[in-house]
């Protein structure tokens, strides 16, 4: 008869052995892609969205059987904080031995980049839009157009609407501060000024006082730079507090919770062009399978993280064919050699900083969906 103590000791030994040897043993037989997304807290909605896009690409790669080894996904919760980003990247690089990681959020990316670079891990951002993410590290790539491109695309439309006094509500983090800097620089070029800028903590939930200050500043348009649940709270509370001015923001507003918010009707936002009727095989397959699985159209974040993983498949396939090792440096060299890749949404071209270029359009929220207005 097995004694209780023996059973406990055996269980402990199994757990220890699994922890020590289990993961690396599996890692040798597969390519490990790590994800560093917020999986809990007010920004967890993004984690779910980002992961869904990446998983669909993994499914397609597995179906095509084009790679010599299977691809495994390992997830770490970034908590959307720089601390979470640094801790998560350390674990993905040193414990999971990921060679390719997917990151999002500007602050998280900036904290994770030095660690990933030191460990020769490629980091692909499809969610953070801070302009300083461009050229952050040689192994840090962007498959999303950054905020300076989004604001530049919005300016002609703003000029056409004759907006003169802009109120800016921005989260006090690298993204928000970049938007403030950008607005101060570009608004005078269209004859507009910042009527007021209101920084908010990433955890702030009450925006009644800010609504009062915006009304007092007599702004004729409101631009907000936030993300996650907070942007829904901003929209709802500013509208509830009687502000009827046009509201504008960037591509973070494409998430379902904003699209489903009644108060978001009429919201103007920029995002990369997403033509789901395109007939190229990558886009057509992505959209067809997405609609079949989720009964709706994908968002730009789904597209970005699909592209990030699909790009990995294309790069590894080339390296395997050439008989080259698959590591961070080799992946970067291959990316810069080929430059242009067939991705969901059309061909994506990468510049010397490994930033993708996609055209950007201005959209207006209408009935839970959005229409192109510029």
């Amino acid at each position: 008869m097995i004694q209780r103590r023996t059973l406990l000791a055996a269980s402990a030994a199994f757990v220890a052995a699994e922890t020590t040897f289990g993961r690396p043993a599996r890692a040798e037989g597969s390519y490990i892609i790590g994800t560093l997304f917020p999986m809990a807290g007010p920004n967890a909605e993004y984690g779910t969205i980002f992961t869904a896009g990446a998983q669909m690409a993994l499914t397609h790669i597995a179906e095509d059987k084009t790679l010599g080894k299977p691809v495994e996904l390992r997830a770490e919760d970034s908590q959307s904080t720089p601390q979470g980003g640094a801790t998560g990247m350390t674990k993905l690089a040193n414990v999971d031995h990921a060679i390719y990681t997917l990151v999002g959020f500007t602050g998280v990316s900036k904290a994770a980049a030095p660690i990933g670079q030191r460990n020769k891990v490629v980091m692909v951002n499809g969610g953070g839009v801070g302009p300083d993410l461009s050229g952050l590290a040689p192994l840090f790539w962007n498959v999303i157009p950054l905020i300076d491109k989004e604001i530049a695309a919005l300016l002609p439309w703003m000029k056409g609407q004759s907006f003169k006094r802009v109120a800016l509500v921005y989260v006090d983090d690298p993204l928000g501060n970049a938007v403030l800097k950008q607005m101060n620089t570009v608004l005078p070029t269209i004859g507009a000024t910042l009527a007021g800028s209101y920084s908010i903590a990433p955890t702030a939930q009450q925006f009644g006082p800010i609504a009062a200050k915006i009304r007092d500043a007599n702004a004729d348009v409101i631009y907000f730079a936030s993300y996650g649940a907070q942007q829904s709270q901003i929209i709802k509370q500013l509208r509830d507090n009687g502000l009827s001015q046009q509201m504008m923001t960037y591509s973070a507003a494409t998430i379902p919770s904003v699209r489903g918010l009644a108060e978001a009707e009429g919201l103007v936002f920029t995002a990369q062009v997403s033509d789901w009727s395109a007939s190229d095989p990558v886009t057509a397959r992505f959209v067809k399978d997405w609609r079949a699985k989720y009964n709706g159209d994908p968002s730009t974040y789904h597209q970005n993280y699909y592209n990030a993983v699909w790009l990995f498949g294309l790069l590894v396939q080339s390296l395997e064919k050439a008989g080259k090792p698959v590591d961070g440096e080799a992946l970067r060299a291959e990316l810069l050699r080929v430059r242009k890749f067939p991705l969901a949404g059309g061909d994506g071209s990468f510049d010397d900083n490994c930033d993708i270029s996609f055209p950007i359009q201005v959209n207006r929220m209408k009935g839970g969906s959005f229409e192109k207005i510029g």
Binding site: A44, D216, S232, K236, Q237, G242
Partner: protein, 289 residues
């Protein structure tokens, strides 16, 4: 007029804080249990209300559903978490960690059941209209004032006049003596959890309509409740309510002199000030050791 507008906004926020803090203060005052999971009660009640309205229930029935969920959760915590732990004379930290663990579990359950995104209840009552040049007030402002007044009067009458209410007040002082008077400290503890949890419901429903909810709302609510309880004076329901309003008004008015991002921090500076200079709080009793 900016100052009046900010004051009105602060009063509305503060009264919702007060409603939320009152339940925590009542439970802590009666049982001396640091009920960290009060934030989870708030989240569960809010989601029950929104889910009820999504199912097509009229709002009073959705409120009732929220009430049932909140009270059931409060009683669950009392019977199945706190009592077994306290039976072994566990320390404050054991109770704290257990309750905090439940908060994490509830947050995860809400995420799985309702998704991780923001949810809110849309109502015409939350849309502000101009009442004076430059002053916008939403009908919900008056609703918040009315609901708070009614609930506080009812709770005050119950605690001050009824045998059970007086028993609750006595519970924290001397549970043994209660037994001598034929009262059960267990039943009174359950009553404290039931009423305290029920008090979280109005705040949760009003928050669902005004600021919206997300699964991780619990810890934030708990922080506010704790701050209001300390500023108000530990064990004082009336103090917690006054402190809730004080916190809301401070957060709102501070933007006239400081950058808007200091709004929330200002409330906690106030808390810090009380801890340093008046640790017994607004209406608490100083205890000599």
């Amino acid at each position: 007029m900016l100052l009046v507008q900010l004051l009105a906004s602060g009063i509305q926020t503060g009264l919702i804080y007060a409603l939320t803090a009152a339940g925590f203060a009542l439970i802590f005052g009666a049982t001396r249990i640091f009920h960290v999971a009060h934030g989870a009660t708030f989240a569960l009640a809010g989601y029950a209300f929104i889910e009820g309205t999504d199912w097509g229930l009229p709002w009073p029935l959705a409120c009732l559903a929220a009430l049932v969920v909140a009270v059931a959760f409060g009683l669950f915590m009392d019977y199945f978490v706190y009592r077994p732990i306290l039976r072994h004379e566990a320390s404050f930290f054991t109770v704290f960690v257990a309750a905090f663990g439940v908060v994490v579990v509830v947050q995860s359950i809400l995420e799985v059941a309702f998704g991780r995104s923001f949810v809110s209840y849309s109502s015409a009552l939350t849309r502000a209209v101009p009442v004076l040049p430059g002053l916008y007030i939403a009908p919900v402002f008056w609703v918040v004032i009315g609901v708070t007044a009614v609930i506080l009067v009812l709770t005050g009458v119950f605690l001050g006049r009824s045998r059970a209410g007086i028993g609750l007040r006595a519970l924290s002082e001397n549970p043994e003596l209660l037994r001598a008077f034929g009262l059960s400290s267990r039943q009174l503890s359950a009553l404290a959890f039931a009423i305290g949890s029920a008090l979280a419901v109005p705040g949760a429903v009003l928050s669902a309509a005004t600021t919206g909810l997300q699964p991780s709302v619990g810890p934030h609510v708990m922080l506010i409740s704790l701050a209001a309880t300390i500023v108000g004076g530990i064990g004082s329901l009336r103090g917690a309510v006054i402190a809730g309003v004080l916190l809301g008004v401070t957060e709102s008015l501070v933007v006239t002199v400081l950058d808007t991002q200091w709004s929330e921090a200002a409330g906690f500076v106030l808390l810090f000030g009380f801890i340093l200079f008046r640790p017994s709080g607004l209406l608490g009793r100083a205890v000599a050791r």
